[in-house]
Symmetry: C2
Subunit: 409 residues, 2 copies
């Protein structure tokens, strides 16, 4: 409780929390089901790929030295001794002066070290191969092990499997990997003003949407959300749900009601869920100041602001990097960004990080960031924008014309 109510910056908050976060355990996963999973062990190739010298053209496999000096006026003449069919092993050794038909993707004849493209050849009436261009050793060939070689480290731990990683693993016959478990994240919504979206809205009430937006963001990171919707703002009930969530999850996210009392209640509950409890209560940001960050019994517990836009903003700026760490990912922040020119002055308060939603507009080949006006707590401002810019706490504003990094949605 010592640090209680210290208002700190997002980078400090991430650093403080990161020190105590550790990745979930790992398990064996079939490679074909591994898209989006994160490697827990480096992968070493146990074979060469390709496993044989492979032609990358249709033509003739040759000994390169037999073609040296060949030209239109003075072709090289080689004896055609056969072909290596696709998918067959070469049982055909070439002696000097010999060539064999090669197919794209097929194996080179034994002793051959290059392929002459079919376009640079002709067959004479007597069945000899006329070659009009010299080839260098290795030309039009993918050598055994040129894509991956035995003992090579293919993928590092912490790498997330995408289509190219999947293909690379499969090309080496690596059909299972060690991957971090999919982190489970509990999402607990509380706030006496909340009703489920399906129910009729009484006056003074609002629909519970943080459950859905935060759930979608969690899934977008490859983690698995569990939902505990609309817990009343009542200490015992909230604590009971919090403890249950702790048992089932690797990380707990509260989205509290909007009022101070609801937020304070969340902080009290987090402190009771386990030591040390709340570490950070309040971030020097806009929007999203009323954020709570802590640990209970070794698990990170986050109290997001009740306002939907603030909750989304803080998730992206602070929770996303923490969840990546828990997931075992190497890259702590991998937002896609675009550089854009600010098209109007933006004022900011020094000592506070501002997240400002912007639209991107292209004009004469330049990309401009146009701040989306309107109150920062309207979700419609997110719909109307392409991403956000971050104005750091040292800055008291940014002038029109400045080059800013836009974090894309």
């Amino acid at each position: 409780m010592a640090d209680f109510f210290n208002v700190i910056s997002p980078p400090e908050a991430i650093r403080l929390m990161s020190e105590k976060v550790s990745p979930v355990g790992f398990e064996t996963v079939d490679t074909e089901d591994a898209i989006g999973r994160t490697l827990a062990k480096r992968v070493i190739s146990e074979e060469n790929s390709p496993s044989f010298n492979r032609s990358s053209m249709d033509g003739y496999s040759v000994r390169a030295s037999d073609t040296y000096g060949a030209s239109d006026s003075l072709p090289a003449y080689l004896e055609l001794v056969g072909e290596i069919p696709m998918g067959s092993e070469a049982v055909l050794p070439l002696s000097p002066g010999e060539a064999a038909i090669a197919y794209t993707g097929g194996m080179l004849a034994n002793n051959a070290d290059a392929v002459v493209m079919v376009e640079h050849t002709k067959i004479t009436p007597t069945g000899l191969l006329e070659v009009y261009r010299p080839v260098a050793a290795g030309e039009n060939v993918i050598m055994a092990g040129e894509d991956f070689h035995i003992g090579e480290s293919i993928l590092e731990s912490g790498k997330t499997i995408g289509h190219a990683e999947l293909g690379s693993l499969m090309s080496l016959g690596i059909t299972s990997i060690q991957a971090y478990r999919t982190p489970k994240v509990a999402v607990i919504s509380s706030g006496d003003e909340l009703v489920p979206p399906k129910e009729k809205l009484a006056k003074g009430m609002i629909r519970d949407i943080n459950l859905y937006t935060i759930g979608a963001l969690i899934e977008g990171l490859g983690a698995s959300p569990t939902f505990f919707p609309r817990v009343p703002d009542e200490f015992d009930e909230l604590l009971e749900v919090g403890k249950k969530a702790m048992e089932l999850s690797d990380m707990i996210v509260f989205t509290s009601g909007s009022s101070i009392s609801s937020r304070d209640l969340t902080a009290q509950v987090i402190n009771k869920m386990g030591s040390p409890g709340v570490l950070i209560h309040g971030l020097s940001v806009k929007p999203g100041k009323p954020t709570i960050l802590g640990f209970s019994a070794g698990k990170p517990v986050i109290g997001l602001p009740g306002n939907p836009v603030s909750a989304i903003t803080i998730f992206k700026a602070v929770v996303d990097p923490l969840l990546r760490l828990i997931s075992g990912k190497k890259i702590v922040r991998s937002f896609k960004t675009v550089e854009a020119i600010l098209n109007s002055n933006l004022s900011s308060t020094s000592g506070r990080t501002d997240y400002v939603r912007v639209q991107l507009k292209n004009k004469n080949g330049e990309t401009f960031a146009v701040p989306v006006h309107g109150k920062s707590n309207l979700i419609s401002t997110i719909l109307d924008s392409d991403g956000y810019v971050e104005i750091d706490s040292e800055s008291s504003g940014v002038y029109k014309g400045a080059l800013l990094e836009v974090y894309l949605d």
Copy 2:
């Protein structure tokens, strides 16, 4: 068959194919399951959000005019007549000179039009509210309908549902939407040199990986792949599988073997699957020239090159935009891009679009695109790079220092 063997550019190919492509049908989907789905009907709000005037601060709801001229030295004094608890309807009408406690997210008292922040007030010993700052009408209030108003078009047809769209729909109580069906895409791999990744590799054979990389790319677009692995390069068998795939799918993708004969066989099969058959055989690109595009019985049929890198490249450049159209998406190409400075000269052949894999490097605040060397048909070049640049067919090369758009993976 008239256009057979015309080699055309990717933009022309996309234009030609797009004219004949139509989106799949639509269905009713629960909003909570709609992440990644694409709207088939525009969504109109049938209510105001918020549905009431909502305080965005903790403080006191007031009639703004009662605070005009208030200052530290000359505060306004208002009578406190009660509070509006969170989630309750305001049953408290304010007369001139009155104020009521307001919570962030709570309802304003009737007749109130602004909220004074608690920081700018004090309670006198006699229980009066001292106000030190004037507020304007609407200050610290989200007015009814300010986020979304009745009759407003919230989301257009063709929009894909992400976290913000989900939240916006839920905030309006829109718990079901009309979404395009998830397109089904058949992936048929053929080629006599292919073996499944789990099997031992005989000499001359390679593992079938296009099935996995292309499947992952299809899923990444929110479509659903069906796999038909390793069909022999035999006309009748391939045609039978092709016809079966046609019945089950909205789009058919062949990944042929690498040899010319395997590709020609695919073209013959596509022509027999239904009229008009092959429209485009060969694109003026590197890598990926041996690409086939056509239609059979109204369904787009694609023959991707056998080389894994070519197959991925052509999927991204040509198939991706077509699949987006089939999915009903408005945005035909929504790659994330980054501008980067080319760090070495890149030569290209005029009349051909080149796709060159690059790594991104940051140096002194500038982003550089570093071409990944090595043969363009090694999947390891994709692992080692962050994306690719496109050098269009008019260009015969790009000089070091040029600003290029990098399509990120």
